[in-house]
């Protein structure tokens, strides 16, 4: 295995100039011989490789949108070295065979570590609990019915109980479907645009239910992509009481608002929908005080034919790997809302700890997952540079600061803009 030396890099937390040594795919204090590769990181900042605990790689079944090869390439471009892919594939990732298939493919063609998330219920149907024990043996790191919230309170209770036998984290997408037959956030703007709205309570009611269930059972639960002020407040209060609840948000919820839907541009259509400016500020507050543990991408590639449509008919979701770091740096760090080190925690150690991935640090002996970024580079994100198969990004044409320049996963260079 290659010996790599990264010199003259600025450490993201300490700010000091450091030299990073990598040998046999792990971080070391020194190299046993001459470096095969010396990377001069003058002017760049070095970070642990980013961890995304919520994305969609679309394989198997939806390779016309994305596949493991292109998805992980896109992830590597965004500085990610570990990604956790949701189970809404075709067939659904609800059994060990599909888990093994994803892992094998990732091993062969992947540009980062792929950790599959299994379905919480068979077929994502919300009826019977899945074979999560067998899936854990095959390699899943969590279960979730993402996109199809667990509607039955009884099933959620069973899922939490059964998953606890295997120490499998449960992630729930909180949405009361009977309240959410809309295309954007419910409010004055949806009314003015004549679009059906998704009220904030559709999310908040299920967050409350999930928290109460977890509290009753004294078991952990992780709430996916929170987007509303009240939802965050419910989680904040629960954490204060000692409930084992964790949660995540996405870059779009702290950088964009429902106002963006004014032109019926479907690149601003996702679920949960973009909320109000007040909600956006609450997401930033939640990240600041630690109520929100993680920033995830919810990378959701869609084919142009599923997006270039009338607003209500278009699919939900946006791609996010390639912009997550820059959007975070631009909207959180540059604005002075949170420190760079705190932001990086939400994209490395926090998700890694919740899912017990053993990633996200640059400690000696750890898998050599590294990212170098130029924090002084301001760039306009363009369609042409996208490595994902899909182009459904709301940030195309946006000026962002903080550009990922090089990514190394497990000691191998997976993305390189330096040469």
């Amino acid at each position: 295995m290659k010996r790599i030396e990264i010199k003259n890099a600025k450490h993201y937390a300490s700010g000091e100039k450091v030299t990073v040594y990598i040998e046999n795919g792990v971080f070391t204090d020194s190299l046993s011989g001459d470096a095969d590769e010396v990377i001069d990181a003058e002017g760049l900042t070095v970070f642990p490789g980013l961890v995304d605990m919520h994305c969609h790689l679309r394989e198997p079944g939806f390779e016309y949108r994305e596949d493991i090869k292109t998805g992980t390439k896109s992830a590597a471009k965004g500085g990610f070295t570990s990604v956790c892919c949701m189970p809404n594939t075709k067939p659904v990732c609800d059994n060990a065979a599909v888990v093994e298939g994803i892992l094998r493919k990732a091993e062969q063609v992947g540009s980062c570590n792929v950790f599959p998330i299994g379905a919480a219920s068979k077929g994502l149907e919300g009826k019977e609990i899945s074979e999560m024990g067998l899936m854990k043996e095959a390699g899943i790191v969590a279960v979730s019915d993402d996109g199809k919230p667990i509607a039955s309170a009884n099933l959620l209770k069973k899922v939490l109980e059964y998953a606890s036998d295997f120490d499998i984290p449960v992630l729930n997408h909180c949405e009361v479907m009977s309240l959410s037959e809309g295309a954007m956030n419910e409010g004055a703007i949806s009314t003015a645009l004549g679009l059906r709205g998704i009220p904030a309570i559709a999310e908040e009611i299920m967050i409350s239910r999930d928290i109460q269930t977890a509290e009753y059972l004294d078991m952990p639960i992780h709430i996916c992509h929170v987007s509303t002020r009240k939802g965050i407040e419910i989680i904040r209060q629960a954490k204060k009481r000692g409930v084992k609840v964790t949660c995540e948000t996405c870059p779009h919820y702290f950088s964009l608002t429902e106002e963006c839907c004014q032109t019926y541009d479907t690149n601003f259509k996702m679920n949960p929908p973009l909320r109000t400016e007040d909600d956006r500020l609450a997401v930033i507050e939640g990240l600041k005080d630690g109520t929100i543990d993680c920033i995830v991408t919810d990378h959701a590639p869609h084919h142009i034919d599923e997006k270039d449509l009338e607003f209500s008919l278009a699919n939900n979701g946006i791609i996010g790997f390639e912009t997550a770091f820059a959007v975070g740096y631009t909207y959180l760090v540059k604005t002075g809302s949170i420190s760079l080190a705190d932001m990086i925690k939400t994209m490395t150690t926090n998700p890694s700890n919740i899912l017990k991935l053993g990633r996200g640090t640059m400690d000696k002996g750890m898998p050599a997952d590294v990212m170098l970024a130029d924090l002084n580079e301001t760039f306009v994100y363009t369609k042409e540079e996208i490595l994902s198969k899909a182009e459904n990004s709301p940030y195309i044409g946006e000026e962002l600061t903080g550009r990922v320049k090089l990514t190394i996963a497990g000691g191998s260079i997976t993305y390189d803009e330096l040469r």
Binding site: S190, T191, L193, Y264, S312
Partner: protein, 312 residues
Amino acid sequence: MGLRSKDLLGLKQLTAEEIMEILDTAKMMKMVLTSGNKKTSHLQGKSVVTLFYENSTRTRLSFELASKYMGSASANITTSGSSVNKGESLLDTARTIDMMATDIIIMRHSQSGAPHYLAPRVKASIVNAGDGMNEHPTQALLDMFTLYEKYGHIDGLKVAICGDLYHSRVVRSNVIGLTKLGATVSVAGPRTMVPVGLDKMGCTVCKSVAEAVKDADAVMGLRVQLERQQKSLFPSVAEYSRFYSISEDILKLAKPGAYLLHPGPCNHGVELPTCVYDCDQSVINEQVTNGVAVRMAVLYLLMARRNQNEKN
């Protein structure tokens, strides 16, 4: 002065001056329309296509007659009998029409924003003839024209709009247009049919139909869109007509001589009883005539803008 945009997507996109120009142009068009010879040459050598994904009697026919009176080649497509039934997308359908050298596409679609989506993707001018729950600009223009004719001004009028506010594109366009011209608008309907934040569009949301209608210069009933009801938003037609219809007694709360409007088609006995539909204050039938005049004005102004662009 003319219109600024190549398209008429909604009243949101128009200034008060543009709206007034349309209303003033409609006045002239109404003179043409009610004269012995309706034929003009304003659209001679031009083509107009109506593309309707939803049912329509008044809007489609008035646009078609308007374009024919003005001398254009006109054609219409409806979803049944076109390739839309074979699954052709809105974009492909519109591009096909566009590539036949069409000048103006008049479209109605069940999806809010469908015309906004098409407008930058075709060379033809898009006229929104109703998009989902968003806007129905020419309906509001003809409603305003009707009041403008009666009162000589819109500024200072109090207009009440009652009924299914949630699904109504007519109420949205009217609130936007009337308030841009200085009228005040009060609305009322079952709370289940009042969309969140409607007041932010500039109207007053009232607790009852009586409260909305009180001292109004004009009262507009809205059709209960039974075909759009996904789930029951009111318990029964009987209860709706008892508590939310514009009855004779309710109409008496308006200013004496206040006008009654309705965009049609009307569910008699639901949003208003037949005796109110036919009463002296009702201008529902006049609205239909005005609809042709207003649509002639819209086509005239849009074509004038296109001709201007060609010259430049």
